[in-house]
Amino acid sequence: MTAIPADRKWIRAGRSTKGLAGVILITLLVLAAVAGPLLLGVSPYEQGADALAGPSGAHLLGTDEVGRDLLARTLYGIRSDLLICLVAVPLAALLGTGLGLLGGLTRWGGEVIQRVFDVLLGFHGVILGMAIALVISPGFVAVVTAIVLITVPSFGRQARAALLQQLSREYVLAATTVGASKARVLGRHVLPNVTDSVTALFAVAMANAVKIEGGLSLIGLGIQPPEPSLGTMISAGSRYIQVAPQYALVPVLLLAALVLGLTLLSDAINRERLRS
């Protein structure tokens, strides 16, 4: 019943076909985002007279409505999305787990926190994001805040459920009967299990973060120009889908690959968890 260390589980998850596919997809996208712009050497901000041009030697994917290189913008777009994920999801995980544990350990606090989570979950993700982007003006901070608020309840619930489940387990009861202190039991036995179950949520939350970023961008509340993100590229590009289909299509496929990669990975991790 002791938890397998999380890192080993991740490695084992990567061995299944689906998990491997996920890892490969994510690695490729990260490489593209990090090394791509360096190899390409074209600025994603440089404008020109040649607007909405088709693919050519100078612009491999063509240009956008103000003559910027679409490939460079798409690569930087992946970078924005990854950055958003890497900031928002750990924040949400910390906050959510903290609140969840607090809710699981104190009765009164638990009620209040549950209620807050219910309200947050009551909002559809996009609607909540819309509200936040209006209060804080749209941009990186608003997108991250929206993702954190949308994601916190799922981490909170997961942490609380895991905690309650562990507390009712025989080994905890046994440990308390043999006289181990409550704090010791929590720290040595319960927390690792909770951490483990929360970690499993990470990949799913990241996939969701990417989706939310795209959704907010579509209604004009995402990352603001001239910074590109996959969502803003899709949003702007879908206006020109008749004349320059690659403008929206390439970011859409990349976003799909990112979401799929994360989903496959999380499926594989979950399967590993169930097995152990």
Binding site: Y45, Q47, A49, A51, E65, V66, S137, Q224, P226
Partner: protein, 505 residues
């Protein structure tokens, strides 16, 4: 297992069959030919019967069909054309005007038009509560007197642009105005109306200008440009008026439909400069902005080429305006950098505000890029339209802002008198200069051609020199017609004229 597969096949067949029935049995929404006698027009906003005296985005659509104005302006010469006012006569000192009304004009409820209706309407329009943009100009009318089928207007002083103001005012029926009934004297009668959605007009067979050809006009509000386009392509509507100019080229619309441009009127897209924010308190830095922006690229990339490049807010053919003034600031980043260096404002951080629409986002993209090219550090603040609007009203836009206004395409005096951003005395740029007010007063008094030319020239020179209201583009509005519609026209400022319109095969 064989049986299972059969049932699956059955399901597939059902689904495919359904799809095939749809595809074969019906018209395709991607191409439908237009037929029929009546016409349907689509615009982005619906008519609002509570704001008849205000010129809004939607009013040119129905206003000129249901109502008549006293005069219109000629598209080319900008001289007044008689409508309800048959002829007019100025007093020698140009402080009073006698308007002779057309005889035999009837409202749609059968009542004859009287001088009192004209006085009633103008009095309403003078009150800012009516929302009429020309209220400040109409307030120069101190007294109105009804005569035998004529109205005498007495002015507080010479008012060179009085006809500009009169052109905006639809004459309403004094007995029903404000009751929710919409009754005018125009070629079409207001009919079934679903607020916010649809309006039906039937022709006025007793119209003083002769009964129009088209019997019934339906005006639909379709907000999104894509939806407008698909309605046009499928033959549901025969005219659309809300498609951004740059989308004309990028959609399949260009070849199939008649593109008409509401020339000479346009929306002026401008860069507003708050003159109390450093470094823009220095006119040299403001002039540098003029050289820094690439207007040609804005016209091409944002407005699909349907825009004029000019350094002035008003049309290039405004009497008294010289070609040198129109082209004063051509794109010249080196000169901009030099001016900024002279003013010691290199590397200054500037905030660039704009409301969020696809159009303004693109303008902001280009302006930000251009300003960074000449060495500014730009902080873009793209916010939703309402938040931006609130800041405009309260003149709280420290730095630069991008927006547009419509009435400057009429004349310099009317433009600066009706628009917040450039109004002498109180404006969003927070420019408080006596000289500007004096120039406005001089323009009001400029009643001869020579004086008017000089006033226009002087106002242009002032704006160019002060550079607090920088023209980025004069963007024409574009209307798409189904080719089956013949002889449809828009008059000055985009008012619809369907008196001679026909619907052919």
């Amino acid at each position: 297992m064989v049986d299972q597969r059969l049932s699956r096949r059955g399901l597939f067949g059902l689904a495919m069959g359904g799809a095939a029935a749809l595809a074969v049995g019906c018209r395709s929404a991607t191409q439908v030919a237009a037929t029929g006698k009546d016409i349907t027009l689509a615009f982005s906003a619906a008519p609002d019967p509570m704001k008849l005296l205000r010129r809004t985005v939607d009013s040119p659509v129905f206003s000129s069909l249901v109502f008549d104005r006293l005069v219109d302006l000629d598209k080319k010469t900008l001289q007044p054309i008689p409508l309800l006012a048959k002829e007019w006569e100025w007093s020698k000192d140009r402080t009073s005007l006698v308007l002779k009304l057309r005889e035999g004009v009837q409202f749609h409820n059968g009542r004859a038009l009287t001088p009192d209706d004209v006085i009633f309407t103008l009095t309403k329009a003078q009150d800012e509560k009516s929302g009429a943009q020309v209220a400040p100009m109409l307030k120069r009318i101190k007294n109105m007197e009804a005569g035998q089928n004529e109205v005498t207007l007495t002015l507080s002083g010479p008012t060179s642009n009085l006809f500009d103001a009169l052109m905006f005012v639809p004459i309403v029926d004094s007995t029903t105005y404000g009751s929710g009934k919409v009754i005018g004297t125009g070629p079409y009668v207001w009919g079934a109306f679903t607020a916010g959605t649809q309006l039906q007009l039937t022709r006025n067979e007793k119209y003083w200008g002769g009964s129009p050809e088209i019997e019934k006009i339906t005006i639909k509000a379709i907000k999104s440009p894509q939806a407008q386009l698909s309605a046009l392509q499928s033959g549901q509507v025969q005219m659309v008026g809300g498609i951004p100019a740059r989308d004309i080229k990028t959609t399949s619309a260009a070849g199939k439909f008649t593109v008409s441009v509401t020339r000479p009127s346009y929306q002026q897209t401008y860069l507003g400069v708050d003159v109390r924010t450093k470094p823009f308190d220095d006119p040299k830095v403001r002039q540098a902005l003029q050289y820094a922006v690439d207007r040609k690229r804005i016209a091409d990339q944002v407005y699909g080429g349907y825009a004029e490049v000019s350094s002035l807010p008003w049309p290039a053919n405004t009497p008294g305006v010289t070609q040198d003034q129109v082209n004063r600031y051509s794109y010249d980043p080196d000169k901009a950098r030099q001016l900024i260096k002279e003013a010691g404002a290199e590397g200054a951080e500037v905030t660039l505000w704009a409301g969020q629409t696809p159009i303004f986002s693109s303008v902001l993209d280009i302006v930000q890029y251009d300003l960074e090219k000449v060495g500014f550090k730009v902080v873009p603040k793209l916010m939703d339209a309402t938040e931006f609007q609130t800041l405009v009203v309260n003149a709280k836009l420290p730095g630069l802002n991008i927006a547009n206004i419509g009435l400057v395409s009429v004349s310099p005096l009317t433009g600066i008198s009706t628009a917040n951003p450039a109004r002498p005395g109180e404006n969003t740029s927070r420019l408080d200069d006596k000289k500007y007010v004096e120039l406005q007063q001089a323009a009001y008094g400029a009643t001869t051609d020579v004086a008017r030319d000089k006033a226009n020239h002087d106002l242009s020179e002032y704006l160019l020199e002060q550079s607090f209201h920088i023209t980025l583009a004069q963007a024409h509005e574009v209307v798409l017609w189904d080719p089956s519609i013949k002889s449809a026209d828009t008059t000055f400022l985009g008012y619809l004229n369907l008196a001679a319109a026909k619907r052919g095969a």
